[in-house]
Every structure is written in structure tokens, then in C-alpha cells.
């Protein structure tokens, strides 16, 4: 995006048109664009299908907090203080890889570093 002023342009864009990351399902839609090169409509439909949610729900922070908790795919840290046991970063990404059937680089490398996890792959296509 090239925000220039990270807290000026960036925040205005987030409020005007942004999905808003982990507050909703923005990070999941972004992962489908980044790794699969999916355009927005296709990426939203894919994520909605995987979550059993509607496309509209993907941008609804109230709905998505429950959905994220149910799938163990991470919620914002402020909430984790109130919800001990919620998945945090690496746990959440293991679950995201499984849920989206998507190779996540750091997850695969983490597996390789832990002998008891090596050989397991969270995606059908295997590691990169």
C-alpha cells in the first residue's frame, strides 16, 4: 500500500475500506491472496466456505471473534488476556494452515525443527 505516513493514511484506509486483520478474517483472506494469488472475490469465497460463514460475516468483528475462537485461529492479544487458553501466534498458524489447506512457511519450518512434529504436514500439498 505504501502508506508513507503509517499512522495517517494507513488508519484512514483501515476505517474507510479495510477488513481489519485479526479483528475479522482479513488476515485469512490476505493469506489466500499472498500464497495462492487469488483475487478478492475468490479469496473471500474460499475463506467463507472453510469457516462455514457467509462472505458478509468475514468483515463482521463480532461474528468473527466467535468463529476465530471456535477454530483456534487466534484473536487479538487484549482478548487473550481475558481468555486464557486461546491459541496464540504459532498455534494459531498451525490451525490456519490446516483450516485453509495452505502451506505456511514458518509452520513448516517449525515442524522441521521439532523432531516429534517432523513428517506431519498440515496441508494436503505438503511443505514448500
Amino acid at each position: 500500500m505504501g502508506s508513507g505516513d503509517a499512522l495517517g493514511a494507513h488508519l484512514a484506509h483501515m476505517l474507510a475500506s479495510g477488513m481489519n486483520g485479526m479483528r475479522t478474517a482479513g488476515d485469512l483472506v490476505m493469506r489466500m491472496q499472498m500464497t495462492r494469488g487469488m483475487r478478492l472475490k475468490e479469496a473471500k469465497a474460499y475463506v467463507a466456505d472453510r469457516l462455514g460463514a457467509s462472505v458478509r460475516d468475514l468483515s463482521d468483528g463480532v461474528v468473527m471473534q466467535d468463529v476465530r475462537s471456535e477454530f483456534g485461529i487466534g484473536r487479538l492479544t487484549e482478548l487473550e488476556n481475558e481468555c486464557v487458553g486461546e491459541a496464540t501466534a504459532m498455534e494459531a498458524k498451525f490451525n490456519i494452515a490446516e483450516l485453509l489447506d495452505l502451506p505456511i512457511n514458518c509452520v513448516n519450518r517449525f515442524r522441521d525443527r521439532v523432531p516429534s512434529l517432523a513428517g506431519e504436514r498440515g496441508t494436503k500439498e505438503g511443505a514448500s
Binding site: G4, M14, A16, S17, N20, G37, L40, I73, T88, A89
Partner: protein
């Protein structure tokens, strides 16, 4: 509202000005016409121009897209000068960024290559802390490879002296060095767990700069098939500092966004970020109309997501360190609702 009622809008430098609705309409038509003339693109249709007028004529402090139409934001430059870089990334996650980017304040791959091991360590740490994707970003910054900063003859000195062949050879030498650096850094950050690489401000030094990035992207795509690769441009068309460089049979000098997109796709990029220059002497509405018309052809043919650059000083966002919220939110809404972009 009478036709003579003055509406508050903004100039491209961010200054507030008063205009009538008819003056705004004329400005939008003129911006579109400027794009048609310069970039040889079709104009926006009547409905699109009317929609843009409604967005800019509305006087709310802030505007936004309809609920359900939200897009993802590929937020580069996520780290701050006032906090640790890792803390900056977690702040970006808390704010609601869809991805964040680890970067050096000196946003140049040539500078990064001297500190790669520490960047790898930070990337690994960031991956352990964050759930949202973390990419690494910088720019090719080809000028840094010329003397006195770099090893290659300085083509900006050779060109005014008429030493064209030497200037071209110097750019080719610099592009080869830059390509090698970007590939090595990309592979190193991938080894550290990065979700992707961002080649930002591509083409800033002209066609040799663009060529170096295209070649690096292709090599990284072959080496790391699952790597996200964002290719963001520096300006609306590629300057012909060399003039004779080609990629896949296409001349790079003078390439406009739709051709830049095709080349980025061929190289293996997964996200393309077109940029359109600002004219600070015209209104934001004029600049946005022009930018929409120039980028619109990309939206019909893209096979990968298109995220127009809407940071400070490009695609209609005012050239000011603190772009006004009223202007930025209008740019944001216009790109999403009129072009149906895949992200920003």
C-alpha cells in the same frame, strides 16, 4: 443544494479549497481526459464519473465503503522509528492490519544485504509472535549501485556527457548486482520463515531497475514456489533511463500499469501494486479520476490481486506527511467502489 454552493475539497498537496459541484464535476472530467490523452486508456463511463462526483461532493469528514465491500490492505512499512521493530509489528497486528512488513528504515535491498543475519533473526522472532502474515520489504533502489555509493559507473553523470553506451552498460551492471542481492536476501528471509517478499517502489531508477526486480522475482518464484511476492511500482510509467531493455520480448521503457501487470504476472508475482503520480497543483478529485482511469484496464485482465498504492503522494492521496482523513477516505472508497480493487 444550489449549484453555486461551495463545497470543501482538497488540492493534491492537501490544502483545503472551496469549489462548486459543477467545478468538481469539470475537474473529474478533466482528470479522466488527462489520463485518456497521456496513457491511451478508455475513459471512465458516465456512471463511474457520477459516482466519483458523489464521493467528493459529500461533506462528511470521513466516508467509507458499503458494509461487506471491505478489502485487504497490504500494509508496507509497518515498523516505527519510535519503538522497537518487533513491537511495531505487534502494534500493526493489534490495529487490525491484514499483514505487516519487517523493514529497515533505510528501505534499500543494497543496504539490507549487509545486515541479513540480524534481519533473519528478527523475522524468525516476528513469526513466533504474530498470527498475521509477516513479509519483508525494501526497494531495488538501483541508483545506490552507482558511484560514489556503489561499484558501477554513474549513468546520471555519463548521460549528460553523451556517453550513452557507457551509461547503458553501467545500468546493466548495476541491475545484475541488484538482482543478485534481492535473490540472496529473499532466499535468506524465506529460510527465516517470512511469508513473502515485497519489492516496493519498483522502477524508481527506470527500466533497468524494473528489469532487476522482474529477474529476481522469477528466480525466487522458481526457488520458493509458495513465497508471496508483492511487486509495487514507483510511478505510472517506467522511465527509459536505459531505453533498450526488454523482458519477454517487451520493451520496458514506457510501460503503463496494464503492461507492468502482465510482466509482473509473467515473472511470478502474486500481488501487483500500480502507482499513479500526483499533480499537487490539481485537486484530489482530479488526481483520483486520472488514477482510476489509468489503472482501470488492469482490473479486467488481472490474474493476480491488484493493490493500488494509496500511500502518501500517489494515486490521489495528498502529498503531505499527514494526509487529511477526509481526502484519504475518499480515495479509499473510490478505488474500492469504482474499480473493485482486490486490496490497497
Amino acid at each position: 443544494m444550489g449549484t453555486s454552493t461551495k463545497l470543501m475539497t482538497r488540492m493534491g498537496d492537501g490544502t483545503a479549497v472551496q469549489m462548486t459541484r459543477e467545478e468538481l464535476r469539470a475537474d473529474i472530467e478533466d482528470g479522466v481526459a488527462a489520463a485518456v490523452k497521456r496513457a491511451k486508456v478508455p475513459p471512465l463511463d458516465d456512471d463511474e464519473a457520477a459516482h466519483l462526483l458523489e464521493i467528493f461532493a459529500a461533506q462528511e469528514r470521513m466516508t467509507g465503503v458499503e458494509a461487506g465491500d471491505e478489502v485487504v490492505l497490504s500494509c508496507d512499512g509497518s515498523t516505527s522509528m519510535r519503538a522497537s521493530r518487533l513491537d511495531s509489528l505487534t502494534d500493526a497486528e493489534d490495529l487490525g492490519s491484514d499483514l505487516c512488513e519487517l523493514q529497515q528504515p533505510d528501505y534499500s535491498y543494497k543496504a539490507v544485504k549487509t545486515v541479513v543475519p540480524s534481519e533473519q533473526r528478527l523475522m524468525q522472532e516476528a513469526q513466533y509472535r504474530l498470527t498475521i502474515p509477516v513479509q519483508y520489504g525494501a526497494q531495488a533502489d538501483l541508483g545506490r549501485y552507482s558511484k560514489p555509493d556503489g561499484p558501477c559507473p554513474n549513468w546520471s553523470q555519463l548521460l549528460p556527457e553523451g556517453r550513452i553506451d557507457e551509461a547503458r552498460a553501467a545500468q546493466e551492471e548495476a541491475a545484475a548486482e541488484s538482482e543478485e542481492d534481492m535473490v540472496r536476501i529473499g532466499e535468506a528471509l524465506w529460510e527465516a520463515g517470512a511469508d513473502g517478499m515485497n519489492f516496493d517502489t519498483t522502477g524508481a531508477a527506470g527500466d533497468a531497475d524494473f528489469l532487476a526486480v522482474l529477474k529476481a522475482v522469477r528466480r525466487l518464484r522458481e526457488a520458493c514456489p509458495d513465497m508471496s511476492i508483492e511487486l509495487g511500482m514507483a510511478s505510472e510509467f517506467v522511465l527509459g533511463m536505459h531505453g533498450e531493455l526488454e523482458w519477454d520480448g517487451a520493451r520496458l521503457a514506457g510501460a503503463w500499469p496494464v503492461e507492468q501487470l502482465r510482466l509482473a504476472e509473467l515473472a511470478g508475482a502474486t500481488i501487483f501494486g500500480p502507482a499513479v503520480n500526483m499533480n499537487t497543483g490539481r485537486t484530489v478529485a482530479w488526481n483520483v479520476a486520472r488514477a482510476l482511469a489509468i489503472i482501470k484496464p488492469c482490473m479486467d485482465v488481472a490474474e493476480i490481486p491488484v493493490h493500488p498504492n494509496v500511500g502518501m503522494g500517489v494515486c490521489g492521496v495528498p502529498m503531505h506527511p499527514f494526509p487529511p482523513i477526509d481526502a484519504v477516505s475518499r480515495v479509499s472508497r473510490a478505488f474500492v467502489e469504482i474499480l473493485r480493487v482486490d486490496g490497497l
